[in-house]
């Protein structure tokens, strides 16, 4: 059974600081997704990482994937209040149907002024 673990689950940080959210998964996969969810809202796709060593950046967020370590990171640079949200990673099983995602528990990020 594929397990996806995120840490930390709760993160409170000050504006302007940097931090990293980690996502570990238990079985082989070559696709990893990061989503953002604001309170009471739906999930918004942030990044899709498709291969070992993949790195993607959008604004103050940068995601990377190490398939050998089964680890993805979401790095936040110079955080701003607008980044406050819950961030989920999700891993696709390597199976013939190719579509099933298993989500981590989510990291609730609060950026304080």
């Amino acid at each position: 059974e594929l397990k996806v673990e995120q840490n930390p689950l709760f993160l409170s940080m000050q504006e302007g600081k940097n931090y990293t959210i980690y996502c570990n998964y238990s079985t082989t996969s070559d696709r990893l997704y990061w989503y953002r969810q604001d309170p009471g809202k739906s999930l918004e796709s942030l990044f899709v990482l498709l291969s070992n060593g993949a790195v993607k950046q959008e604004g103050r967020l940068m995601a990377s994937l190490d398939t050998k370590a089964r680890l993805s990171t979401l790095h936040i640079t110079a955080a701003v209040h607008d980044l406050s949200a819950t961030y989920f990673c999700a891993v696709a099983r390597r199976e013939t149907s190719g579509s099933r995602l298993t989500f981590g528990e989510g990291t609730q990020l609060t950026v304080n002024p």
Binding site: Y33, Y35, K41, S42, S45, V48, F88, S97, S99, G106
Partner: protein, 115 residues
């Protein structure tokens, strides 16, 4: 701007009643997913379809839940009879599978409360 739509957005019902949630996937997408989100369990996949055929519904309680895609523009999730433990937010997502690569786009969700 193409979006997944879900109706109703909110539903309050009494235990034992039937609940039907509807989803319109993004036009041209060939996969549809139903997820349930609760504080305790997080995001759970209930069922998914590709080209309208059910591929996996192992996450769904079979005795009371059913999911169908009567046509390419409509997916339904039905609970009969509903129970208080079914209270959750139910998300529909759609995606386009090209080989093994795709993204899932989530709808706004249906917030279900069963009293």
């Amino acid at each position: 701007d193409a979006r997944v739509t879900q109706t109703p957005r909110h539903k309050v019902t009494e235990m034992g009643q039937e609940v039907t949630m509807r989803c319109q996937p993004i036009l041209g997408h060939n996969t549809v997913f139903w997820y349930r989100q609760t504080m305790m369990q997080g995001l759970e996949l209930l069922a998914y379809f590709r080209n309208r055929a059910p591929l996996d519904d192992s996450g769904m309680p079979k005795d009371r839940f059913s999911a169908e895609m009567p046509d390419a523009t409509l997916a339904t999730l039905k609970i009969q009879p509903s129970e208080p433990r079914d209270s959750a937010v139910y998300f529909c997502a759609s995606g386009l599978v090209l080989g093994q690569v795709h993204e899932q786009y989530f709808g706004p969700g249906t917030r279900l409360t069963v009293t």
